[in-house]
């Protein structure tokens, strides 16, 4: 049991460091990244104690996840969720309003990360978002609205036929 746990712990900890760095890399030079680490409070008896989640947001100092701001916590928690499984065998990812606490900069970093994953890991994304700076850069919009009898109605709009928004494309190209 302990060896299974330690094996998973190592894998998740590695994933987390990579994913958090990708999710927090600045949008402009010098492209500083944040770093995140998992450490066992009691390496001899991992089940008796917790796992510490330490984070250094880009250009900030070392702190436990519970000392971060709301948005910084969300980014770290998202990176952790993604790191649990990795992406080796993921055909699709469906995300429901994960950007609720994000400011503009973090939304663009998420957008960049999603676009990168569609290329590098060939993952299909279906993302529910209320943020226009995010969904305006997807390939397809599925609009849901309510009829007067309060049933749902869907409308589909392809966006990849339109000319790209030059400014944002440049920002997330890196």
């Amino acid at each position: 049991r302990k060896s299974l746990f330690l094996k998973a712990f190592k894998r998740i900890s590695k994933n987390l460091t990579v994913i958090y760095a990708e999710l927090t890399k600045e949008l402009e030079p010098p492209y500083h990244r944040g770093s995140a680490h998992l450490s066992l409070e009691d390496p001899m008896n991992p089940f008796n104690a917790g796992v510490k989640f330490s984070v250094i947001p880009p250009n900030k100092r070392f702190q436990e996840i519970d000392q971060l701001s709301g948005g910084e916590k969300s980014v770290a928690a998202l990176a952790f969720t993604f790191s649990l499984q990795g992406f080796k065998s993921t055909p699709f990812l469906i995300l429901d309003e994960i950007d609720a606490a994000f400011d503009t900069e973090n939304v663009l970093k998420l957008l960049r990360w999603v676009r990168n994953k569609t290329k590098v890991n060939a993952i299909q994304f279906i993302v529910i978002s209320l943020k226009e700076i995010f969904f305006a850069h997807s390939d397809l919009l599925i609009g849901i609205c309510r009829n007067t009898d309060s049933t749902s109605q869907s409308l589909t709009l392809a966006l990849d036929q339109l000319p790209p928004d030059e400014a944002s494309e440049k920002l997330i190209a890196n």
Binding site: F5, A49, G50, V51, D96, I144
Partner: protein, 160 residues
């Protein structure tokens, strides 16, 4: 690109037949609060075999559109899925009433299967529902942001 289309009938807030898609590599679902966006995600996890109780604590009956015929509902969700060899599969699940009890059954390309056979087929298609790693539900990120060290241990254990 794997999920091509979603076909829904009388499921949650979707009355009658709705065809959603075709989905592309990066699709976004947008709309006002309460319009039915998360219900689409519910339709996808439903057809892939999640128990009703795992769909926001519902019973099968709660998943049937409230205005549908409650004696003889014909609710279904069909997911058009293309595998890595470009072959198209239609994964289906419906809700019916037998002896006054709500039940659901599964189909792949219109052939009825048991729940176990259906899950086995999904695994062969590369969809491992037990891993829950394909979905982040509304509020998950905020909940996880507030976890304690011992809870993280638990999560890692669950995964290993």
């Amino acid at each position: 690109m794997r999920i091509e289309n979603l076909e829904i009938k009388d499921f949650k807030s979707y009355s009658g037949v709705h065809t959603i898609g075709p989905f592309k590599t990066f699709s976004c679902v947008i709309g006002p609060n309460g319009s039915g966006k998360s219900n689409l995600l519910d339709a996808i996890i439903f057809v892939l075999g999640y128990k009703a109780t795992a769909i926001r604590g519902s019973k099968l009956q709660d998943l049937v559109y409230i205005g549908a015929d409650i004696v003889n509902p014909k609710t279904y969700v069909k997911l058009h899925f293309r595998d890595q060899h470009n072959k198209l599969y239609v994964l289906g699940r419906n809700i019916t009433v037998k002896n006054k009890r709500f039940e659901s059954s599964y189909t792949i390309d219109s052939k009825e299967l048991s729940a176990q056979e259906f899950q086995k087929q999904l695994l062969e298609l590369g969809i491992n529902i037990a891993s829950k790693s394909f979905f982040i539900f509304q509020g998950d990120v905020e909940n996880h942001a507030n976890r304690h060290p011992k809870e993280i241990t638990h999560e890692i254990e669950v995964v290993s």
